[in-house]
Subunit: 436 residues, 3 copies
């Protein structure tokens, strides 16, 4: 069986995160975690569909993972999933094909489930589906009593859902070449070509069955999903690692530092005096946690320096992040960031309402009343700057000192305040002189 | 003997503190401390005069204290002390009546003193008086050689005091009904009707004697008096509590936290790693002192969370106060307040002069060169905001992030800064691109 | 042999430091360190040339040091070194004279070197010289093969240096009266009268020899040199002091404080809970390092209070400095300074380029990409104020709260921000009322 991994999407809603497939969790990119899950479930022959923007990274990944991976470049990214599968089909033979997307992160048990079901007779394909009591803008299913799919309805308006069951992109086709033909012929004036192809197959008598899955699932759509995701990978890793190996023997931890509960601390980490690490926490290779820091429920990438007195709470930090006496709460911080002393993320509105984030010009409810900021790569923030909840700072942008930043910053910008100072004679001194 | 407690005053000078009688110290409202002092001194039959604004709280107090308390509503609050005593008189019999006010906090020894003196023959009434070398805007006494009062002069101009002796409102009348008649007949065009009534009684031959008291006394007039008061109640409590019971066994204290000297720590308190508690300190039920905090010479009410790295110095905090990496010095903080990370109270002018506070439109010298801020209830303060010494923030008011607040804020306001940012292309990045 | 110490210079480039001779390192002024070095090398008869501005301090120094010191006032400071030596010459006899300047700090080995060489026959004078591969605006030497000086060229343009060898002002003249005559007769329209005199002597056949020195040398020209200097004096002192005497037995150090590596801690110092002192660090008499502070690679003078949670990194602090939850990095802080809670020094540009400092109207490259601020004496900085890298604050100047200070402040100024607040009704509260 072959597995197609759809990794060409451009993740515009993830901005300033450039490619969600290469968001690193516990030292590995998201796509590697997915492939490792598939391998653990018994899949071993991969076709990865990328785009021009991430093929170099995919090549590097292929080299590192030493698996049977065919890399395919999707030329026309605007054709989405349909284009990706058609481009991948050059590698299709007569064996079944599993299609998996980086947009849906699931547990390896989802892959095992589909593997255990695919030899069912009288079934031409399978989809992993999930009971979803709260509205989600995805593909809802009409099912018959035996679990066969009657129709997929992509992104119905809220309240118009035909059921509470949505499909995750973990789809198996026993005759992939047939499916590709349906994809090539599908016509729709909405963004549901793929679903139209499936519906057409079903109309023509092909049998697609739903496989109910109740394990971990996280859509990877908005930047804040990084916070939910790292914890999933942490829990999975902690489940696997024996307790005594979670803190590297090559880490240096001051006797006055305190580590509470389950943490993973990699080689070369240094934890200085009176720091406190409060579970769950991941600290990547060669990162430093300086004096008096508090790190709790957070992911710290590699080569970070969490400077004196900083608190990192419920946040995801990529690699090479430097902080210094900051509070970073409920935030997603990109690679190679630096925060001047006293810079602080706001993570709670004064009125304690939910935090909204502007995504592609639209204000999106993060669903959280505690949420901080999102930064791209190569961001610098000046001393004593205050960043309001839900603000995004683009790649390569600098934010000066002493600012209250309440709006998003694009890529490659320099933001400073406009200050007016009053300079007068210091009467206090004159008074003193008069007294003397 | 009956005791009248005057608790109807509206404490305008205490704003934004709404009712000084219900300022809580060590888990109990001020008026309860006063009643308990009276009970300890042997008094047990109370008439408490309240106003419409605090009768519900007084009823709740009566229920809780299980003492013989008659609650009286003073209908016309503008009649002040005179109106209060007249309204209370419906409960007067022929036994003596002690009149006590929430404006003067004294030690139980003052009550014992008056109790020990009231059976002196040839005396119709007694007043607790105090030697007061520094001018105080109160009722000064002309005394004869044997300690009998010749006249009370209410609020003489500074320099016009007839003596250095003032009366505290701990007054005993053996014939209270007679006194009430004098009160009812007194006429004055100044705010001294009560004193006029006493002076008229004396003119008519009644004998009022001064009982000199040199114990603790604190007028409760301005919000900053809360700081002086909590220490008094702390000292009194510490004197009573055996050492081993001052820190509750139901408190959780990290082994790396350090507690120095006499403190009282109530049930359910949690003190986290590397926190330091430096005497005298009171910490109310279920409050949390987080990592690396320093709490010194301060009163922390119930259900507070003193967040990571905060310093609380010489301050009074009511219940439900949340802080986070703040410095709160020499301040009076109301119920249900929250301070964003990096918000700081200024508590010393750069020129080190005394701090003035605007009270009812008038600038009042706090008498202290170290004094911070005063907040009402339900106040929120944004991240990195700086509040200047002597500033008051009203009830239900929010102060945004990154502000320098140098003026008082009324009740129910939202204060934000007006920011102007400059956004330009980040030349640093362009330079780097050019170099590459 | 007599030693002339030139100490009358006005150090304008050192502003706001008023007199570099009296910059205190490890409890002693710079000039005392120099004299002690000379004494250690065997010199003991001094002529110190001061100006009106520092004669009182020099007299006090003479009283304290109990050495043979002739104080001379240089009347006309505009005549510089030449005037100083001529004024000093009233004390010259027939013995050789060593001329030393406060502008060049060298190790005692430089003085030993010149002492060991001065009896060489056929030599009329000696100069300590140093190989200086990087351009320095000083006096470059043309030397012959045997090390005799052919000519001094003062401040050649960069690229026009006649050699890589400069002279330090450690000059010995065997016939000082002759040299004084040359000084008196020298004529130049550039600022090189002294060098002209030496060149004239050489032209007339006097033999001046260069003594190559490769020990410690630091020009004392700009304020940031204080940071380089204190470390030199620290290293020298640590080399001399036995390990067990470096931390005074009269210092009080909390058992939870951590001291790492070589430090010098003087009498009366108090180090509180969870503070960390990280080598090299000098802490002067009676200074306090409060809870949770981090002091690293820094010089703290006497009677300082490094308040709760402060970090002092790679900085020089004079006496009487008060901090409170600050970050002071790579800075030079004058006597009697105070920093409000949350005030922070920026010490790294966002673009990580070198820091420039405005000196006498000209922007000077500090040569460092990590450099903070320079303050004079009696400076006050308000809470949450941010001071940009390279900023200087003059003597007796105050900087208000919440400011971003990006420009130098003159002496005797009061700088505040100009704030505009918006005060509106707090709709959050109104909403809540509506809901209730």
């Amino acid at each position: 069986m072959k597995t197609v991994i759809l990794a060409a999407g451009q993740s515009k809603r993830m901005k300033p995160i450039e490619d969600k497939n290469f968001l690193k969790f516990l030292g590995k990119p998201l796509i590697q975690h997915q492939i490792e899950s598939l391998v653990a479930a018994g899949f071993n022959d991969f076709i990865v569909v990328g785009g021009k923007h991430n093929l170099p990274h995919l090549r590097e990944l292929k080299r590192k993972m030493r698996l049977q991976i065919h890399l395919v470049e999707q030329k026309n990214l605007s054709l989405g999933m349909v284009g990706a599968v058609i481009d991948a089909s050059e590698h299709f033979g007569n064996e079944p094909v599993l299609i998996v997307s980086g947009n849906d992160v699931v547990d390896k048990s989802a892959f095992e489930l589909i593997k255990n079901s695919y030899q069912d007779k009288g079934v031409n394909g399978l989809m992993i589906v999930k009971h979803c009591p709260k509205y989600f803008p995805g593909g809802y299913l009409k099912l018959d009593k035996r679990g066969f799919i009657k129709e997929i309805i992509e992104k119905p308006a809220q309240g118009k859902e035909p059921s509470k069951v949505i499909n995750l992109v973990v789809h198996l086709y026993k005759n992939p070449k047939t499916f590709v033909k349906y994809l090539a012929k599908a016509i729709s004036n909405r963004d549901d070509l793929y679903e139209t192809a499936v519906n057409n197959m079903i109309s023509d008598g092909y049998k697609m069955k739903a496989v109910m899955y109740d394990g971990f699932w996280q859509a990877v759509k908005y930047p804040w999903h990084a916070i939910d995701l790292w914890k999933h990978f942490f829990d999975t890793a902690v489940g696997r690692l024996p307790k005594e190996s979670r803190i590297s023997k090559k880490a240096q931890i001051s006797p006055s530092a305190i580590i509470k509960g389950d943490v993973i601390i990699e080689d070369g980490v240094k934890i200085y005096e009176h720091a406190v690490i409060n579970r769950p926490v991941y600290i990547g290779k060669n990162s430093v946690i300086a004096n008096g820091c508090l790190v709790r429920e957070s992911h710290i990438g590699e080569n970070c320096v969490i400077g004196k007195g900083t608190e990192i709470a419920r946040s995801y930090l990529a690699d090479n992040v430097w902080t210094h006496s900051n509070y970073i709460g409920d935030s997603v911080i990109g690679d190679n960031n630096s925060f001047g002393a006293g810079a602080v993320t706001g993570n709670l509105r004064l009125d304690e309402k939910n935090i909204f984030v502007k995504v592609n010009g639209e204000k999106i409810d993060s669903g959280k009343n505690k949420f901080g900021i999102i930064t791209g790569k190569n961001v610098r923030v000046g001393i004593n700057t205050s960043i309001m909840p839900g603000v995004k700072i683009g790649n390569n942008s600098f934010v000066g000192a002493g600012i209250v930043l309440a709006e998003n910053v694009d890529d490659n910008k320099f933001v400073t305040g406009k200050w007016e100072l009053r300079v007068s004679d210091n009467l206090a001194v004159l008074d003193k002189k008069a007294r003397e």
